[in-house]
């Protein structure tokens, strides 16, 4: 991603270009989620650096990291992580509250975001009233509401059936392709990575063991990838 240079976990050094769709693969405990948390600014490296848009995340204060998460990053989790007591609209507009956006503007943006994931009719429902796929779409809408440069997805289809998982992945690919959004996705499903990502990075025991273009890049015309 531009000048972003990532060195994470144990001797892991990788670079993601702007607009790239990268999949981090590995077995459980391989360190892929740790790498994602470092990129998200949720965790700090004990040594080394995580550079995003020219800024070393390791050197940012807690307040600066919060701003980074608010404006640069959008996150999607395996367990959706929607707040159960809030409606979908409230969940989606929550990052805008932290960004101090006006109420009316927030409502408009939330409606638009939910519309983009096909949930405009479910705005006033609570997460518990929705299916897993709908919840993940809502989580996607929330991740995109601040128009982030970087979408981080941690096992986004892990709790979904294959058909719903495909729907979600199609949406993610759409955002990557149409909006030029950089996507870093953690998954343990190689097939999923091969189908949607342009590049696959394999981790094992916290180390980078392989970095290769995926089948989708080899077999079809790459989208949004800077050479």
């Amino acid at each position: 991603m531009g000048d972003a240079l990532i060195r994470a976990v144990d001797g892991v050094s990788l670079q993601v270009r702007s607009g790239e769709f990268v999949a981090l693969l590995g077995t459980s405990g391989s360190g892929k989620s740790s790498v994602l948390n470092l990129i998200a600014g949720l965790d700090r490296p004990t040594s080394g650096s995580v550079i995003v848009q020219g800024r070393d995340l390791a050197k940012l204060s807690r307040e600066e990291l919060a701003k980074y998460r608010l404006h640069v990053v959008g996150m999607v989790f395996q367990s959706f992580n929607l707040i159960a007591s809030m409606t979908l609209a409230e969940n989606v507009e929550l990052p805008l509250r932290f960004a101090e956006v006006d109420k009316r503007q927030r409502a408009d943006m939330a409606r638009e975001a939910l519309q983009s994931v096909g949930l405009q009719s479910r705005m006033h429902h609570r997460p518990g009233q929705l299916s897993g796929g709908e919840q993940q779409r809502a989580a996607l809408a929330r991740a995109l509401i601040n128009r982030p440069k970087l979408l981080l997805a941690d096992e986004p289809t892990g709790n979904l059936d294959s058909r719903t998982g495909t729907e979600i992945m199609e949406m993610v690919r759409g955002f990557n392709r149409d909006l030029g959004m950089t996507v870093v996705m953690v998954t343990h499903e190689r097939a999923l990575a091969e189908r949607y990502a342009q590049r696959m990075i394999f981790l094992a025991d916290g180390k980078l063991v392989d970095d290769q273009p995926s089948a989708s890049l080899l077999g079809s015309r790459p989208h949004g990838v800077q050479a």
Binding site: R62, A66, K67, R69, I83, S85, R97, E100, A143
Partner: protein, 474 residues
Amino acid sequence: MKVPDLTELALRNLRESLLRNSLTTVGISVGVASLVAMLSLGIGLQQMASRRLVKSGLFDTIVVTSRRELRGMGREEERTGPTPGESRVLDEPARLAIEHLPNVSEAYPDIRFVTELRFDEKPHLTMISALPASAKSNDAFEGMQGSFFSSDTAPEVILQKSFAEELLGKTPKLGAPEPSVAELAAPLLGKEMTMRYAQRATTPAQPSPAQLAPISPSPASSPDIDLSGASYSVISRELNLKIVGVSDLDPESMRGPMRAKVFLPLKLAESLHVMQPTDLREVSRAASDQPVYSSISVRVKNPSQVQPVEDAIKKMGFTTFSILDASRGLRQFFAVLYAFLGIFGSLALMVASIGIVNTLVMAILERRREIGIMKAIGASDGDIKKLFFAEAGAMGILGGIVGVIFGWAIGQLINFGTNVYLRRQSLPPEHFWAVPWWLVGGAILFSAGVSLISGLYPAGRAARLDPVQALRYE
């Protein structure tokens, strides 16, 4: 995060754990109610004491005497001011001048004399005092049987209880129960009695014979030059008076003109021109139509204005006396009382504040994941801290409002119960419970303040949560 958003989120979170947060808020309300109840009792008691003191006339009254009065000798103003012989005479123009001073509500002469009253053909020698119409509101007449004077000139008397006992020959023996005022008043009210008194009457001026010289002041040394040679006569008079009231006022209490056993309306007493002890000292004045007073009682509009009025009267050349210092002591006493009541009242609120800490710490545990989500999507430590602060503050304000209402209701209930008891004891009802606006506002602010302080630790703890750990929490 903006304040309205923060408030909205805080209230939403409070609604989510309604029972627990309601119980915590009730705890705060009880604390605030106890604080309000304690302080309003203190304030009410102070107001009642002040009302009583103001009504008693002790704190808003200045007694003015002329420096010619021998009893004032030796005071500082006596030593520094004009000599008693040169000082101003306390006469009607002086009374009017004093009455026109700022903040003075009235200035009336203290007319008191010893004379004979006949009732049922029996003579009774006693001290008689004149009362102004304003004395009607004095608490001394609260337990009175009958009524106050129908007018300021009516030929009516009010008797003191012990004098009524004397008239009826019912003076109780030592240790025996005293008859009630009502018992004494029944046979006396409406009856007439005759007062015999010495009236001072002016007579035409005469040439100064040699034998009068020692009595008449020397023209060269006195400002009363025009009255030299004047004389007066003393005429014995009788006046029928109707008994209209019997009071249980203690004649020995310090109440200025009320230190007597029989009371007359002031204007009536003035019109009688009763021979006063001062007439013997102010010989030349006594011969004029203008009366000379031994002392004047000056009532000021507010006890706080006693000092400036007293200073103004002193500047006029008179001696003054008030018991202002006693009211200062009273204020000090109530300040200490407030402090103690406030401390005891706050204890319950302190206990409630522990409830807030507990509730919020529980909320952190329950909402750990939610805090993690908020941080992951961009909430700063400050946002999380403010959110918990807002929740603590909302509980504090809500608890404060409910507590003030609760405390006010407790006060009304106790006031009502006590007044029922007072009525059963044949005592007048009292309002000894007061919740001023500053207490309402102060209690709510104090409650919010204590709640915010209680929220410091949980808010800090929530803000420091590691988002990765929090997101892993199930």
